[in-house]
């Protein structure tokens, strides 16, 4: 005779014997209709407040923030490296062709 390999499971399954069908109350249809009406396409817009959207937005903002910060640090370093005073003004003026030239 084959030995029962799952005696505890079988013992627990007996506790389900005579299980009644769990049902909903008689207002289920009313709630369902209400939900269906709410689900109909709405005018206007709403904020997506699901955790996944909130976290993604936060991560995106942090990434943009990081990029902006690194750009700022880089710009400052470049400015500090270039020669100070008139020469930087001179190069700025040259780049925009704003040097004073007199035709007189």
């Amino acid at each position: 005779m084959k030995k029962n390999s799952t005696p505890i499971v079988d013992e627990h399954l007996e506790s389900l014997f005579g299980m009644q069908e769990a049902g909903t109350d008689e207002f289920f249809y009313t709630r369902l209709k209400e939900r269906m009406q709410q689900n109909e396409p709405r005018q206007g817009w709403s904020l997506p407040l699901k955790p996944v959207w909130v976290i993604s937005t936060l991560v995106l903002l942090l990434a943009v923030n990081g990029v902006m910060l690194s750009q700022q640090v880089k710009t400052k370093a470049t400015t500090a490296n270039s020669s100070s005073g008139n020469s930087s003004l001179q190069s700025f003026a040259e780049s925009y062709d704003q040097t004073i030239s007199s035709s007189y």
Partner: protein, 189 residues
């Protein structure tokens, strides 16, 4: 009203036909999703979503199976979607415990099925807890056949699997449950 007439009327958006369908199937659909989800609130939600989808997509129902099998298939899919989302929430809770403080509390609670006799409630709750830990397919096969009492043929149609695959899932589910229950009682000692 026979099934063909019912489908025709549902396709025409006939509200009394839809009401008839809901009133006749709401308990069976709710019972199915409750056994899978082990949570009355989520089961109500999944049952509502099932009927909404039936109403919206009956036009594309190809009648390769009976209307009730098709409906159960939708219900099972809705319940599994909710289970997956619950697992994601629980994982998120482990990383960010302050995000959803109620999540841990709900995951530790035992499920007491409303349809089980009072003297069997504790034992059944332990079994439900063990079923919850099974892999998804084993859990579904075991719940439909052993808990809900669905016959193999219907369960195969609902799950979209052949009989051998379902039998194998049941065997593996039982062996895994045996280990889980042994472990549970060992920790109690």
């Amino acid at each position: 009203m026979n099934e063909q007439e019912l489908i025709q009327q549902l396709r025409q958006g006939n509200e009394p036909a839809f009401r008839w369908l809901v009133e006749n199937y709401r308990n069976r659909v709710f019972h199915t999703v409750l056994n899978i989800l082990q949570d009355s609130k989520e089961a109500e939600d999944a049952a509502q979503e099932t009927f909404i989808q039936v109403f919206e997509s009956v036009g594309s129902f190809k009648q390769e199976s009976s209307l009730s099998t098709w409906m159960y298939r939708i219900a099972v899919r809705k319940a599994l979607d909710k289970l997956r989302r619950r697992k994601t929430r629980q994982r998120l809770h482990q990383v960010l415990p302050w995000w959803m403080p109620d999540e841990k509390k709900s995951s530790n609670e035992l499920f007491h099925h409303p349809g089980i006799a009072a003297e069997n409630k504790e034992k059944a709750a332990v079994l439900f807890k063990a079923i919850e830990a099974l892999p998804e397919k084993q859990k579904l096969a075991f719940t439909l056949i052993k808990v809900q009492g669905m016959n193999y043929e219907e369960a195969c149609a609902v799950m979209g699997q052949n009989i051998k695959a379902v039998e194998s899932l049941i065997t593996r589910a039982k062996l895994n449950l045996q280990k889980l229950l042994e472990e549970y009682y060992r920790t109690l000692k």
